[in-house]
Each structure stands twice: as structure tokens, then as C-alpha cells.
């Protein structure tokens, strides 16, 4: 076994010291009838060389985003990751440490959490941030729970249909057994209309959950929506794209109460959906209701500046069933990657990434929906890096399949979540997509002959 150190001599000496005759005897406290009388029915061990060949073979059966031009988004994006992120996160001292329960042996992690919290708070315009949650969806669900506890309103919450469908599904699952009603407001025009929100928010509504830019890529009318929510004493919880904050107004500037985000875009690989990280930031007055770890600055016994896990009385290991959340293990390493990414990007770098996404997405919009062709923009509204395309004749599946053959992950079909958008797909454009790729995608999507489509149908 490659990771065991005890030699047969060691084992003999150790058993003797313990006072038992065999390894088997060590398990005496496991009742005989509860012991597995056979071997586990799993395949035999592989050496590193064999395992490598096996995994390489599995990897070859996938088509990666390195092999196709990736225009897929919907909460996971093919952004550029600078080498410095991998170099730092690959340090074993970060990689193979754990939650900093012993502050003196974890100052590196604690300071990194503190710096991460600072950068997230600055980026969102909020007072404080925690040290990460699981992902964007659970961060949104936790934010809604937090708004329920902060307002004391546990009966009702409102979400826009333009919030990521999987975030809303997650929220629904979290709320199901709490008896909290979740009203989902349709967004037929691609964004949530403030008048419509006004009719849905009640005196017992804990919060309004909105995504900006939303799942369709469109900018929501956040300033108006915040007013509507606050008028009824409901909190405004907003899901943002951290990259967009290189350019867009900060949620703190439009008076959001809790900001959450999927942090994958900040230096993390797509990795088929995880591990990612849930970002959460809020106003200082709510920090004691915030879930998750928080690093705080203090001084040591000799007056030296240092960091600890703080406000732990919110957490499950102290407060048990009265904790603000059940989260324990979080996404620390991904938060570190986000921190290094933001530190490397700086204000100018992040702004450049955001601007490139915006400009290229805008160019792709015009190219894909060029007049007289079969594709059109479904929502002709200000958008950041994503947009919804409608196909007038070919089926979406056929279009995307043809585009795949031509070398493109062209978009995400929307029918699985929005039956009324079964002729639509979502296209994302990051800074990594070149003009040639965008032109190629436009050509490929407009080249597919009608007959092919008819034959498939």
C-alpha cells in the first residue's frame, strides 16, 4: 500500500504494546454479526501507472472546453485563470491544512480569509463578507434564510424567474419543510418589472431574490426593485456576477441588504460544476446572523496584529441547533484562489476583463442576430456577458448539435427550465473568446440548411 508506513516489524511491536495478538483482534468491539464476512465487491487496486492510464482514457472520452470554443455560461464560465493562482493554491501548506481552529498554526489561512473578506466587501460595496459557502445556489438559499431570521418574517419570500433556475430549485428544497411560501414572479420580458413586484411583496415577505445581471444576461432594474422591496420592509437579496463588478455599480451603492455570488469566475476551473464557492456579503448590522466562518483581526498576548476565527457563537460547533447555519467545511481553497485572482487582477485588470466580456458579448449579439438571418435576440435589453438567442426555424437541439460538429459549445438550451423558451438558447462570451471564434459561431449557426432540420424533426 503506497500510503502506509508500518512495516511488519512495526505492526508486531505495536500489537504487542497494545496487548492484542492480531489486527483482527483490534476490532473486537465490532460485533461479529455486523462484520462484513467477504471482501468489498469493488475492483482490485491499481498502481499509479495503471490509474493514470485509466483516468487518461476516461478523460479522452470527454470533449473538453479546450477542444471546442466554449460559449456556455449559466453560472459557470470559461474565464482565464492566471498561472499565479495555480502556483499559490498548489502550496501544500494551503492545500493540506484545515479549518483554522488553532490560530497560531494557521495565520496564513486566517490572514488569507481576512483579505478575501476584505476584497469581497470592497467589490460588492458591503461592510462584511464571510469566508465562503458551498456555491452560488446555497449562498442564495442561506441569504434567504438569513433574511427570514433578520426580519422575523418566516412565511413568505419572492424570487424572480430570471434568477438561475437551479438556485431557485435549491431554495425551494431548503424552504419546503419550513412551510415558507416561495412566490416566483414570471419575467416574460427578460427582467422583473417593478410594478409586478409591487403586487407580490406583502407585509410578511422576508425578502426579494433577484439576480443582476440575471440568468438571461439582462440587467435588472435593481434600483427600482430595491425600493419596492424596502417599501414593504422586505430585504433585497441580490445574486451578482463578481466579474461584472469590474464595471457595474456595486450592490452596496443601490442599497442591497445581502449580496451573494458564485465565485467560480474568480480564478477557478469549471470542473464540471464544482467545487466552486459561494460568496456572501452583508451589512455590518446583520453580521451576527451570517452563516459560515469569519476571520477577524485582533492582537496576540504580546500585542502583535493577528487573526482568528471570530463570532463563532453563530456556528454549529458552539451553538449546535441554535446556530445560524449547519455549515462546517466550506470552500476555503476556492476562496483562496478567488483572493489571489483579485489580488493579481487589481482594479485595472478586473475592469479589463469585465470590459472585454461586455464588448465581445455585444459583438456576438450583433453577429449572431444579424438582420435577415434565422436567429434573433429574445430579449433586446442591456446585457453584460450573456444573452438569449431565439431560432426562428431550426430546432435548438439541431442547431447546437451542428455547431458542436463545427467546433463550438454554442449555448445552453433553455427548454429544460423555461418551456416557453423552447426555441431559445443562452450564449455566454468571456474574455477568452476571440473575434474569429465569434465569427465562426455566427457562420456555423446560420449555415445549417433547413432540410437538415426538417429531417431531424
Amino acid at each position: 500500500m503506497p500510503f502506509l508506513l508500518n512495516t511488519p516489524d512495526d505492526v508486531r511491536a505495536m500489537l504487542e504494546a497494545i496487548g492484542v495478538g492480531s489486527l483482527d483482534e483490534l476490532f473486537a468491539m465490532v460485533p461479529r454479526e455486523l462484520r462484513l464476512a467477504r471482501e468489498l465487491a469493488i475492483p482490485p487496486a491499481l498502481t499509479e501507472l495503471e490509474l493514470t492510464s485509466h483516468l487518461e482514457a476516461l478523460a479522452r472520452q470527454n470533449v473538453s472546453a479546450k477542444e471546442k470554443a466554449c460559449f456556455l455560461g449559466g453560472g459557470s464560465y470559461d474565464h482565464f485563470v492566471p498561472a499565479v493562482v495555480d502556483a499559490i493554491a498548489g502550496r501544500g501548506e494551503f492545500y493540506t491544512s484545515y479549518t483554522p481552529y488553532q490560530a497560531e498554526a494557521s495565520q496564513g489561512n486566517l490572514q488569507a480569509f481576512f483579505e478575501y473578506q476584505t476584497l469581497i466587501a470592497r467589490l460588492t460595496g458591503m461592510d462584511v463578507a464571510n469566508a465562503s459557502l458551498y456555491d452560488g445556489a446555497t449562498a442564495a438559499a442561506e441569504a434567504v434564510l438569513m433574511s427570514m431570521s433578520a426580519t422575523g418574517r418566516r412565511r413568505h419570500v419572492v424570487a424572480a424567474a430570471s434568477v438561475h433556475p437551479e438556485y431557485r430549485q435549491t431554495l425551494a428544497a431548503y424552504l419546503k419543510n419550513l412551510g415558507t411560501e416561495l412566490t416566483t414572479l414570471a419575467t416574460p420580458d427578460g427582467i422583473l418589472a417593478p410594478q409586478q413586484l409591487a403586487t407580490a411583496v406583502r407585509d410578511d415577505t422576508a425578502c426579494v431574490l433577484v439576480q443582476h445581471p440575471n440568468f438571461f444576461g439582462c440587467l435588472e432594474n435593481v434600483e427600482k426593485l430595491v425600493h419596492v422591496a424596502h417599501d414593504k420592509g422586505a430585504m433585497f437579496v441580490v445574486v451578482v456576477d463578481p466579474i461584472s463588478l469590474g464595471l457595474l455599480k456595486r450592490p452596496g451603492d443601490y442599497d442591497a441588504d445581502i449580496v451573494v455570488a458564485e465565485g467560480q469566475s474568480l480564478g477557478n476551473p469549471m470542473s464540471f460544476g464544482g467545487p466552486y464557492l459561494g460568496i456572501m456579503a452583508c451589512r455590518e448590522r446583520m453580521v451576527r446572523r451570517m452563516p459560515g466562518r469569519i476571520a477577524g483581526q485582533t492582537v496576540d498576548r504580546r500585542g502583535r496584529r493577528c487573526w482568528v476565527l471570530t463570532l463563532q457563537t453563530r456556528e454549529q460547533h458552539i451553538r449546535r441547533e441554535k446556530a445560524t447555519s449547519n455549515i462546517c467545511t466550506n470552500q476555503g481553497l476556492l476562496a483562496l484562489r478567488a483572493l489571489v485572482y483579485l489580488a493579481a487582477a487589481g482594479p485595472q485588470g478586473l475592469r479589463e476583463v469585465a470590459e472585454l466580456c461586455l464588448r465581445k458579448a455585444h459583438y456576438a449579439r450583433t453577429r449572431l442576430a444579424a438582420a435577415g438571418r434565422r436567429l434573433a435576440l429574445r430579449f433586446d435589453r442591456p446585457a453584460f456577458k450573456e444573452f438569449v438567442v431565439r431560432s426562428s426555424d431550426a430546432s435548438v437541439d439541431d442547431l447546437l448539435a451542428e455547431a458542436l460538429d463545427a467546433g463550438f459549445f454554442a449555448g445552453i438550451p433553455l427548454s429544460q427550465w423555461y418551456p416557453e423558451l423552447d426555441d431559445c438558447f443562452l450564449v455566454a462570451v468571456t474574455e477568452k473568446r476571440s473575434r474569429a471564434e465569434i465569427d465562426g459561431l455566427a457562420t456555423a449557426l446560420n449555415r445549417i440548411p433547413r432540410q437538415v432540420t426538417a429531417a431531424h424533426a
Binding site: M1, F3, L5, I18, M29, R35, L40, A41, I42, P43, A45, L51, T52, L58, N62, V63, D78, P82, I88, E93, F94, T96, P100, Y101, Q102, E104, A105, G108, A121, Y134, E166, Q169, K176, L178, R250, D253, M270, F272, G273, G274, P275, E284, R293, A295, G296, V299, R302, L311, R320, A323, I327, T329, G332, A344, G346, P347, G349, E355, R359, R435
Partner: protein, 493 residues
């Protein structure tokens, strides 16, 4: 050698005009920003981030890293956390572009290798659990607890609709009662016997027709296999409830005793513990769950299913609780777990547990002469010693010992958990440590208890900082770098 100049907080290192990342010029037509986005949506100023060059970033974070203890650098016997060696092969393999650069919404025909791997992992975990149906979706152990309790809630809505309580022993990890509360149940605590096992009388008294689930950790948080586990499961089942097995301690029983065989209806794995996922300064983990056949319809979607000659993501599950997160799961950690299980095979996994238990018992045999171990002479993969006597006799607490161990180059055990042992030191050596390391650790523990109390009260003495003022951190929380120059006047914002 540490360079303290480089570990100043990022904003102190920042200098206007520096930068590490530069993007290429746009290769698309230059349209004025104002034509792309409404003025009202734009920020007035660039984001408030520090300005650093790449050498700054590298030196800063590299020096920060040297202020951590880690498994790669130190013995890290943090009980309940299974700080075992992280195989380097897993890191390399999980980073193959064909596994790492996959978008979660790619067409499934472009994901057949990944889906094959995940399907096989579902099967492997089901076999190790002795439970037939597996969801890989939860992001960590606590998330697996929550998902399972939501499954129980859905199940009971279907069968009777009035079970509102979730029971857990007083020795349980904090996540158990917290998950019960988050899932909308009323958490109820069941007492432990003086030996640390579930008190059957108290359990019996609390098992009424409103009890939905009993959450049990076996081996328990004292590192003991509950001899009554079968009886407990029978009691809970007879009362119409379900058994949830907190699988944090699976490292003790791989291929030796299966939760499904000792009565569990559902359980989670902590892949970052048992299956060697790197703990990454607090995460990521992965907390797959395994359940019995009658609970399988309620598992979150999607599961990986066989389809024709290949695999697909199965969403057609009408009784599913839905989903508990976005996308498939913490796939990168699941890939590492898969690599770990395939590296070991049936014999190897069993050996892992045998050596984890051997190391713990050996260390116990050496430590019990120094500290009382209330549970006795034997343990599974970990044990809990008590510094209560030392506290009374010499005013040396579990925390003092933990801090002093750092001076000798050992990470501390888990302290003050489980809550049922006074001055608890919870020690889990794992199988990836040698007899020499365990001997050195035991000798150090002994030496520490002989040291003057004053020395221990001020320990550690060799770390970059010592005994941070936690009260001050909580009373006047400073959770972000203050905008003004002095770090002391900035409260939280």
C-alpha cells in the same frame, strides 16, 4: 525562512500603478461603453482592489503559506477530521484537462468519460455503505446531513405526515442538531451513558410517533463502535423512524462493517476525510449520501444513470427533493475520491482501516499512562483523552496542551469536543503516520505535562503569534481591512 515584510496585509503592500494581470486589447469593434450599457448601471470608480505586481503576489502568499501547519508538513492529529496524506497522483489526475475543463452544461455525449467515472463512484460508495442508492450532489458532510433530512421529511410527508423531531446523541457533532434545525425539524438530544454510548432508556423515552430520524455517529465521536447499534436500529425502526449514520468516521470501518448492514437507512461520506480529498484550509469537501431502496426515489436530481451503451444525467425523478445546490456536485473532490478507492481496491481499503485503528490503539496505549482516557483501553480510529485531572492538579487545560504541542512541531488534537468529555483531547492519528511519529508525539505529550504551568499558559512560544485575544476579536469585530490607515479604528466597515 519567513519574510515578515511580505506578509503585510495586501492593502499595505499596494502601490498605485502596479498590476499583475493585463488583458489583451479588444479584437472586436470599439463601441463606446455608453452605447453598450446605461450610464446608471455603471460604477463611478474602478473596483477598490489593491494594486500589486506578480512578484508581490507570489511573495506575499508564499510567505503566508509558511505560517500554516499542514499534512504535507506536520503530524496533524485533529480528531474527527481524518487528516491523512493527500496522494499527489490524485491532484495530477483530477487536473487532466479532459476532466477539469468540462462545463456542467456541455452536451452529455461530450461527457461520457466523466459520467462513467461518476456512475462507477456511485456504485463504489453504495457497496462500501451497504446501501443501494447514492447521490454525489452534497458539497460536504453537513450538506449531506441536510439533504438526507430533507429526504426524510419528504418520505414522511408521503407515509404519515406528522413526524417533526430529529434525535441525536449529546456526543454528536454540532452539525447534526444544526442540520435538523435548518431542515425544519425539532432537534432533540439523547443522552449518552457514562461510557459514551447511546443511553437506550433515554432513547426509548424519546422515540415517539413524532420522531422522524435518529442521527448516530458510529464509530461515535469517542472513537468507539456502539455495541448496541443493531438494537438501536431495531428500536428506531420499530417506532417508525429512520436511522441516519453520520459517516465522518468511516475511516475506521472500510470493508469491515457497513452502515447498511448495521441498520442505517441513510448516511453521508466525507470524501475530504475518508477518501483523502485535500482539506484545503477548510474545504472543499464532498458529502455524497447513500440511502436504502425505499428512500431512493427522494434523492436529489440528477443521478448518473446507464443509458444504452453509455451514461446520462437522470432528471426524471418525480418524488425527488429537487436539488440542494447548483450543478452536479463537488466533482473535483469526487474524482479524487474515485482515484483513492481505485488505488486501494477491496484489500487496500480494509488495510487503511486496520492501520488507522492500529495507529490509534497504539497511540492510546502510550497516552493512557499520561492522560486518563475515560472510554478505556481500546478504540477504533481515534480516542478522546481528558486533561480534567491535570486541570485540577496543575491548572493545565486541554487548550494549554494543544498550544504547547505547536511548539514541538505537532498540530494540536481537536479540543473540547465531544462535549461529553471534560477537557477533551480528541486524537486521530490516521493510517498515514509511522510508529516513530506516534512515539515522538506520545513522548512530547508526556514532556508537556511535566512542564511548569506558567510556561504552558503562555504557549506557544515559537509560532509567529501566540494566544490571540479572541474576546477582543468578538467584542470589536474587525472583519475587513479598514479604509483608513490605522487598523485599530476601523470597526467592521
Amino acid at each position: 525562512m519567513r519574510n515578515t515584510r511580505a506578509t503585510q496585509p495586501l492593502f499595505e503592500l499596494s502601490k498605485p500603478g502596479r498590476r499583475a494581470m493585463r488583458m489583451p486589447a479588444a479584437d472586436v469593434p470599439d463601441v463606446p461603453l455608453a452605447e453598450l450599457l446605461p450610464e446608471s448601471a455603471l460604477a463611478a470608480t474602478p473596483p477598490e482592489l489593491p494594486e500589486l505586481a506578480e512578484p508581490d503576489v507570489v511573495r506575499h502568499f508564499t510567505n503566508l503559506s509558511t505560517q500554516n501547519m499542514s499534512v504535507d508538513t506536520h503530524f496533524y492529529p485533529l480528531g474527527s477530521c481524518t487528516m491523512k496524506h493527500n496522494p499527489k497522483r490524485n491532484e495530477r489526475l483530477a487536473s487532466l484537462p479532459g476532466l477539469l475543463d468540462l462545463h456542467p452544461y456541455q452536451p452529455q455525449e461530450t461527457l461520457q468519460g466523466m459520467l462513467a467515472l461518476l456512475f462507477e463512484l456511485q456504485e463504489l460508495l453504495g457497496e462500501i455503505a451497504g446501501l443501494p442508492a447514492v447521490s454525489l450532489q452534497p458539497a460536504a458532510g453537513a450538506h449531506g446531513e441536510l439533504a438526507s433530512l430533507l429526504i426524510a421529511a419528504a418520505y414522511f410527508r408521503d407515509v404519515d405526515g406528522k413526524r417533526t423531531k430529529v434525535l441525536a446523541p449529546d456526543s454528536a457533532h454540532g452539525t447534526n442538531p444544526a442540520s435538523a434545525a435548518v431542515a425544519g425539524f425539532e432537534p432533540v438530544t439523547v443522552k449518552s451513558t457514562p461510557q459514551g454510548f447511546v443511553d437506550l432508556v433515554d432513547l426509548g423515552a424519546k422515540l415517539d410517533n413524532r420522531a422522524a430520524v435518529f442521527m448516530i455517529t458510529n464509530p461515535n465521536t469517542l472513537g468507539m463502535y456502539d455495541p448496541n447499534i443493531k438494537r438501536i436500529a431495531e428500536m428506531v425502526h420499530a417506532a417508525g423512524g429512520l436511522i441516519y449514520l453520520d459517516g465522518a468516521n468511516m475511516n475506521a470501518i472500510l470493508g469491515i462493517s457497513r452502515p447498511g448492514d448495521f441498520g442505517a437507512d441513510m448516511m453521508h461520506f466525507n470524501c475530504h476525510k475518508t477518501f483523502s480529498g485535500p482539506h484545503g484550509s477548510g474545504g472543499p469537501g464532498a458529502g455524497p449520501i447513500a440511502v436504502s431502496a425505499r428512500l431512493a426515489p427522494y434523492l436529489p436530481t440528477p443521478l448518473v444513470e446507464r443509458a444504452g451503451g453509455g451514461f446520462r444525467l437522470g432528471y426524471d425523478r418525480p418524488r425527488s427533493i429537487g436539488r440542494v445546490r447548483s450543478f452536479f456536485g463537488n466533482v473535483g473532490i469526487l474524482v479524487r475520491a474515485y482515484c483513492y478507492i481505485r488505488t486501494h481496491g477491496p484489500d487496500g481499503l480494509r488495510r487503511v482501516s486496520e492501520h488507522a485503528v492500529l495507529n490509534a490503539n497504539y497511540l492510546l496505549s502510550r497516552v493512557k499512562h499520561i492522560f486518563p482516557v475515560p472510554q478505556g483501553d481500546r478504540c477504533m480510529h481515534e480516542f478522546v483523552a481528558s486533561a480534567a485531572r491535570l486541570k485540577t492538579d496543575k491548572d493545565i487545560s486541554a487548550m494549554d496542551i494543544a498550544k504547547r504541542l505547536l511548539d514541538y512541531g505537532f498540530h494540536a488534537p481537536t479540543v473540547y469536543f465531544p462535549p461529553i468529555v471534560r477537557e477533551a483531547l480528541m486524537i486521530e492519528p490516521t493510517e498515514t503516520e509511522s510508529k516513530e511519529t506516534l512515539d515522538a508525539f506520545a513522548e512530547t505529550l508526556f514532556r508537556v505535562t511535566e512542564e511548569p504551568a506558567d510556561l504552558l499558559h503562555e504557549a506557544p512560544h515559537t509560532t509567529p503569534v501566540s494566544r490571540p485575544d479572541e474576546v477582543r476579536a468578538a467584542r470589536q469585530p474587525v472583519m475587513v481591512w479598514p479604509r483608513e490607515s490605522s487598523p485599530d479604528d476601523g470597526a467592521g466597515g
